[in-house]
């Protein structure tokens, strides 16, 4: 075995570059006499854009490296590009609000870069060991970021809660992984798949291990019943951090879940399909029902994201090419909508103080009609109303469910999206039909305005030009499901 062969190393070129750039940024942050958040943050955005470009140009053929621990294919490249772009955008969005809250620490961009690196390695994991270490590399910066506003009790509580529950889920995942290693003797995904191939009666140990691993990963996508942390962490963490939580890590976690279940456990579909169906239905129902009574917009978005993960999991339950394609499209559009919605959340301040209540949006349509219009577009899209992008996300997912004969899932999905539409439309009602109490300040952050405009245009114009996303998703799905 020669693990350092150059062509094999080239496969992981974007990750190597990102790791090096993150460490260079760390050195710059440490060596600089004064904390220069703006410089480091801009360099971080630049680094992530470079990585996204590298990924776009990289060879889409399937290949493995580091003794089979690292895999790259069209699916990995597509999802990694999503993650890199999402992280770059959330870093661009963060700037002004971090400065306002006096948490514009130089470590912030550095931690985001390391977390993004962890997500990219997660998407490329092809071994139980690389799965676990990359998952931890992704989570650690998130725990720190949640608690970064260290003088606020809520932020500290969010960080601590996330850390304790995150460790518990890591424990479950590790226990499951050790059972699988114990019963199959292999840690690589391909040897595990070979060991499980053609077995009629799978041993109980393997089933238990697989279910425990699903639990650990379901925690990372915050699917019911492993969602308890999400509302508290979303509400407690500073708004820019919440935006990052909503945009990037979910994409990576769902990609990992798809790779693990379709890869090594592909032959055990009969056993995991029912688990995914149960998780999916529970997430859709809870995401729809629990959000109705929320008054805090970040909490509401947490429940909304739980619901969205439920829809994405339908595609996984379908377990065919259409389903994986549906997941990829859904996650792309979900990321787009989250970016738009969180732009608005970051703009919500009154006389320079952050406000988070839904009632604070009342009368927005009269004071800032363009902002209200953008928010309405996002809400209509999240509710899945045609012809906006969110509708197509749901359409492809439901199509996959029907193609796999999972009618219960499709029907539940449609019913819960009707319930969910109620709370999305309630926000629009508050903005347009309620009298303004005090209103919110006009945003002077041009970057944030531009991102919001771009996201709104993308959501509206998806119907005109869907080809790049659809083709990319089709290619990605083809590489995961032969």
């Amino acid at each position: 075995m020669r693990p350092f062969e150059a062509p094999a190393l080239m496969i992981s070129f974007p990750e190597l570059i990102l790791a090096v750039l993150a460490m260079i940024l760390l050195m710059l942050a440490v060596v600089g006499q004064k904390e220069n958040y703006r410089l480091i943050s801009r360099l971080g955005v630049f680094a992530l854009i470079v990585i996204a470009t590298l990924l776009f140009k990289s060879n889409p053929e399937t290949g493995t490296s580091f003794g089979g621990m690292f895999i790259t294919d069209s699916f990995a490249i597509y999802m990694k590009m999503l993650v890199a772009i999402g992280s770059a955008v959330s870093l661009m969005m963060a700037g002004k609000s971090l400065e306002r809250e006096k948490i514009d620490r130089v470590e912030y961009p550095v931690l985001i870069l390391f977390s993004t690196l962890g997500m990219m390695l997660m998407i490329s994991a092809n071994d139980l060991i690389s799965l676990y270490v990359s998952l931890e590399l992704q989570s650690f910066p998130l725990y720190v970021l949640a608690a970064i506003q260290r003088d606020s009790t809520r932020s500290t509580e969010a960080g601590l809660k996330y850390f304790v529950l995150g460790s518990l889920s890591s424990g479950l995942l590790l226990y499951g992984a050790s059972l699988i290693y114990g019963f199959t003797g292999a840690t690589g995904f391909e040897p595990i798949a070979q060991a499980l191939h053609g077995q009629t009666a799978v041993s109980l140990g393997i089933v238990t291990g697989m279910v425990l691993m699903i639990c650990g990963m379901a925690f990372k996508v915050s699917a019911v019943p492993f969602h308890m942390w999400a509302p508290d962490v979303y509400e407690g963490a500073p708004a820019p951090v919440t935006a990052f939580f909503a945009i990037a890590p979910k994409v990576a976690a769902i990609a990992l879940l798809a790779r693990v279940l379709m890869g090594p456990f592909g032959d055990m579909i009969g056993l995991w399909q029912q688990v995914i169906i149960a998780i999916s239905i529970a997430s859709m129902v809870l995401g729809g029902v629990a959000a109705v009574t929320q008054t805090n917009i970040k909490r509401l978005l947490a429940y909304s994201s739980i619901g969205h993960m439920g829809y994405a999991l339908i595609g996984l339950a379908a377990a065919n090419r259409v389903g994986i394609q549906g997941i990829v499209i859904y996650m792309t559009l979900y990321m787009l909508m989250s970016i738009g919605v969180f732009c608005l959340v970051l703009m919500m301040k009154r006389r320079d103080k952050v406000v988070e209540g839904i009632s604070d949006l009342s009368g927005l349509a009269k004071q800032q009609p363009m902002l209200a219009l953008a928010m309405s577009i996002m809400m209509f899209s999240m509710a899945g109303i045609p012809p906006l992008a969110g509708f197509f996300g749901k359409l492809f997912i439901f199509q996959a469910a029907v193609s796999a004969g999972l009618y219960t899932l499709a029907v539940t999905g449609v019913l819960t999206s009707v319930v969910a539409a109620y709370y999305y439309l309630r926000i629009i009602k508050v903005m347009y039909f309620e009298d303004a109490a005090a209103g919110i300040d006009k945003s002077e952050d041009t970057g944030l305005n531009l991102i919001l405009i771009a996201a709104s245009l993308a959501v509206v114009l998806f119907i005109v030009l869907p080809a790049p996303i659809l083709n990319g998703a089709a290619e990605a799905a083809l590489s995961l499901v032969q």
Partner: protein, 204 residues
Amino acid sequence: MIEAIFFYIFSAVLILSAAMVVSARNPVHAVLFLILAFFNAASLFVMLGAEFIAMTLVIVYVGAVAVLFLFVVMMLDINFAELRRGMMKHLPVGGFVGVVLLIELIWLYVTSQIDPSAASRVASPVPDANVITNTHALGQVLYTQYVYPFQISGLILLVAMIGAITLTLRPLPRARRQNVSKQVSREVKDVLKVIKVETGAGVE
């Protein structure tokens, strides 16, 4: 026979001291019992022929972690009795879940079978202890076959360090820091004055 006796001694002391860690009233005693538990676990590893893990357990856990705990317990004024107050209230539910999980796992190990072909697939088989020592065998794969997870673990530790500093370091404006260049550029004539003092006059 003699092996079995030692196994039971170490295991019994391990379980007893682990129970004492959570039930001891004095937190310093709890940490000392933790150290005892680590030593017994290390002995069990030695008996298994895994001397590397035994060594790291003693060096890392006893040498660093447990001593750090001791520092925390002694230096911070944490009221452990207060922390533990809810324990009796939550014990029935927690204990019930624990017992159910334990029964399930025992049942799992009793009923399920290990795939007989598993041995042929083992990622890196353990070499014969008579040919090569455990530590040597680990060293052979850690930096070659497993260089990838090894490096990522390094990054995780780096992130943990950044995180700890980010969350706890507060700049102290009044803190006195060492300024090496200032120290080096200091000269005798700037700081030392030789004065001839006349008798009965005093200095200045």
